[in-house]
Amino acid sequence: MSQNLFFKKESEVTPANLGDAIQQAIEIEIATIPVYLYTYYSINRSPDQDTISGSLVQELVKSGRSVADASAIALDLSAEIMVYANKSGALIMSVVIEEMLHMALSSNLKQALAGLPDLVGKSPSVWPAALPGHEPVFWINKAGFSLKQLETFLKIESPDPLADAGLLQAPIPYKTIGQFYDMIKECIATNDLPYNTHSPQLLPGKGYYAQNNIDTVYYDKDHKPHFTNAEDSGDLLYVYDRDSALHAITCIVDQGEGTKGVPGLNPDGSVDCTAIIPPDFDGKNKKELCHFEKFAQIYCHYKTLSNKFNSLDIGVVDISKYFVTNVPLNPLTADYPANIAPVSDLLNGIYTYLFVMVENCYMKAGSTQFEIFMFGVHKSMIFILNSICGDIMKLTYTTPQGQVCAAMPTFEDYPFGLLSSPKSQLIDLYNTAVAVYPTISYLGPRILDLPDVPLKIRGKF
């Protein structure tokens, strides 16, 4: 996303600008994905319990407790950290998965009402980034897991308008994402619009979307798994008329901000943790929290757990030290040294190729679409991208500020050229990357397996 100028001085959605408004919605959804993913990868979901427990025992004994007492407390608290780290990761991933669903639902909407969705090159290119059109403007960082980062997440998903006044001049302005979707909804509900039912969409029942996977699962203290997304909370939808269009938007808003009127953020951006109970659910079986409530739950749990540690008289403890990797703020590939930059380029190539493939799914139907999605998108996202994100984080570098950090996925759009296919460029990126980092050699055959799909020529469709 290059901070597109969608509109000038327009503040409502009309049939004339509906296509641009839906494209804006798509780009809002896309903007959230790299942010949530970046923070997700900063979390060590299964830290070493013995290390946590051992350091706690030392601190507790120093504070005058017997070894037996210290060990009992340390065992309990270290298990709580283990659960919290894993749960935070699961809940953030459960939101990422639904943001990808929202991108697809909005793309279906655009395909039905205004033509092909534009997905490639729409990730934020300038950091800190802003949600297109959000008022007031608030800045979003690619940052490690922290209370501050959770406050940003809560602003993104807030059901209530944010307090500060500010102005972003270009796109259609809105105060909450739900309010923006309401404007689109209003336009669809009150106008007799033609629906394109002939062009391909991403449809339910083909195995494209799964509400849960092992990454949305966390284990409690008894190692019982908890599933963070409910199966009835939403799925892909075929948009072919007014009702189905409205249904798709309702699904997006219900999963994101949830029901209007539930307690949101305090004026200072914090959360009133006493007010979020009972939680706001997005499915009829009341099993799943909306995104805002998921983040509020992690935020409030962080505070509760911190208070427990800080009541032990072992000094002020930032619990994130037990499970959050030291990561840079808003890194770019250009910041990385020569032994990391090619790996980052490959990672961004895969990340961008995902959007290339999804765009192609809106141009191809039947088995071709199925193969692109199942063998290309799934393989790239679940196996290749996830693997290379883990691999790049094994590398460290010194930031310009002199801090030693793990190299992180930067989630930049890779600028594929037009002289050869994106896949052949991806293979070149792999060859360059594996030369400096042979650890990733196992990915070579899987990259070769990917479908070879072209870039969409802008303005052609």
Binding site: A79, N86, G89, G207, A210, I214, V217, H223, K224, F383
Partner: protein, 200 residues
Amino acid sequence: MAIVNYNSNVSLCGGTPPAPAPAAQGAAAPGTSVTPSVELHVCMGLNACKGHDRNGTNNCAGTGYCATAQQHNCQTLNNCRGQGGCGLYGDAEQQLTPGANECAWQGSCAVPIQAERFSTLGENAGKSVWLQARKLFEQRMVKANRSYGKAPFKCGPPQNWLISVLGSYDSCGNSGDKRCSFGFNDPEVHAKELCEGKKE
């Protein structure tokens, strides 16, 4: 329970598959000896025929020690029909068909299937994936009017056993050890519950 020593030259469960024989030019020469392929299946206790486990030594259907399909650790990495696992990824429908995917790359999880793996979606959510695979296998045997024996492990191969046999074993995902990671649980109790068909 005897431990089967891993030998990457014997079969496909964990090792590099043997190089395929060169394609015959035209019709096969008379008298040419061709080693027939065994059925490729995804785990312990899922073999349909005698001698069709990774060592080729099992006596009858359902008693084999390990997969003949190539080991892999994630969704979309299976070579062909019936050679994919499921459980950790995939939609609700895919998660009901471990070892019964229609085509290459349509499996949704690792092979072989460790006993600790549970489904994450659908009717089998929270329940053992291996037991689901075994159920499908037994239904198939009944339909084919075939007898079958007990699997070496009642509930599939435990992860630690797979590691001892294969040298390493991994199924994808970031959520941690499926067997045990915290101070307050008994992995054996969990294994027993999963084995009894209870939800995790």
